[in-house]
């Protein structure tokens, strides 16, 4: 149980799932709406 809990904590430290899935391509848009 303790090992499972530690494994879970380590997994948590890596980040939230969506943030761990890198899209194949990322572009950037930059704008200002004053």
């Amino acid at each position: 149980m303790r090992m499972l809990a530690e494994a879970r904590q380590e997994q948590d430290r890596q980040g939230l799932p969506l943030d761990l899935q890198a899209p194949a391509r990322v572009e950037t848009a930059t704008f200002a709406l004053g």
Partner: protein, 180 residues
């Protein structure tokens, strides 16, 4: 959020120099095109408005020839539709300086139970600023996005059950500010 368009090195909110308060969005072109983003940008401000300060002007900062062509093309279309000169500035992006941490994901910062999720996962300020989950939560709590979409994508966020409930409650109450 950040600062762009000026010459001052390392601008800050209190010492912005000739920069403009600017939004920078990372996007997956498979899901949304630059052109579609530009259409949202044009629809989200009055292009006829004169800007009275560099800090708060309307601008599109392009990177590369393709973005430049798209920005100019959409500006011409807006101008033709309005029949008036467009005051929105179209300029090359020289450099984007991220704003101070307290400006990032501003509305999400008002929800401690949701912020705790990021702390639990060991996010530092830079990772929080770049987080896709934080960007989406910030949009939901500030009044963008519908419950049906939220329910569809909520499992992919990996939030705790209690944080999911908080988010649903915020959505149901519509308590988030609606601000572009």
């Amino acid at each position: 959020m950040g600062y762009a368009g000026g010459r001052k090195v390392d601008p800050t909110y209190r010492s912005m120099g000739d920069h403009t308060e600017t939004t920078q969005v990372d996007f997956d072109p498979v899901l949304i095109s630059y052109l579609e983003i530009l259409q949202h940008v044009w629809a989200s401000h009055d292009p006829r408005r004169n800007h009275f300060s560099r800090q708060y002007m309307n601008a599109i900062f392009f990177s590369g020839e393709a973005q430049k062509a798209a920005a100019l093309e959409t500006m011409a279309a807006v101008q033709a539709r309005l029949g008036r000169e467009v005051k929105t500035v179209i300029a090359p992006l020289e450099r984007f300086y991220p704003a101070e941490d307290y400006h990032q994901k501003y509305y999400l910062r008002g929800h401690p139970a949701l912020l705790a999720e990021f702390q639990r996962h060991g996010y530092d300020d830079a990772r929080f600023r770049e987080s896709r989950v934080a960007a989406r939560l910030n949009a939901y709590v500030s009044g963008f996005g519908r419950m049906t979409l939220l329910e569809r994508e909520l499992p992919s966020f990996g939030l705790s059950a209690s944080a999911e409930q908080v988010l649903r409650r915020v959505m149901e109450e519509g308590s988030g500010a609606s601000c572009g």
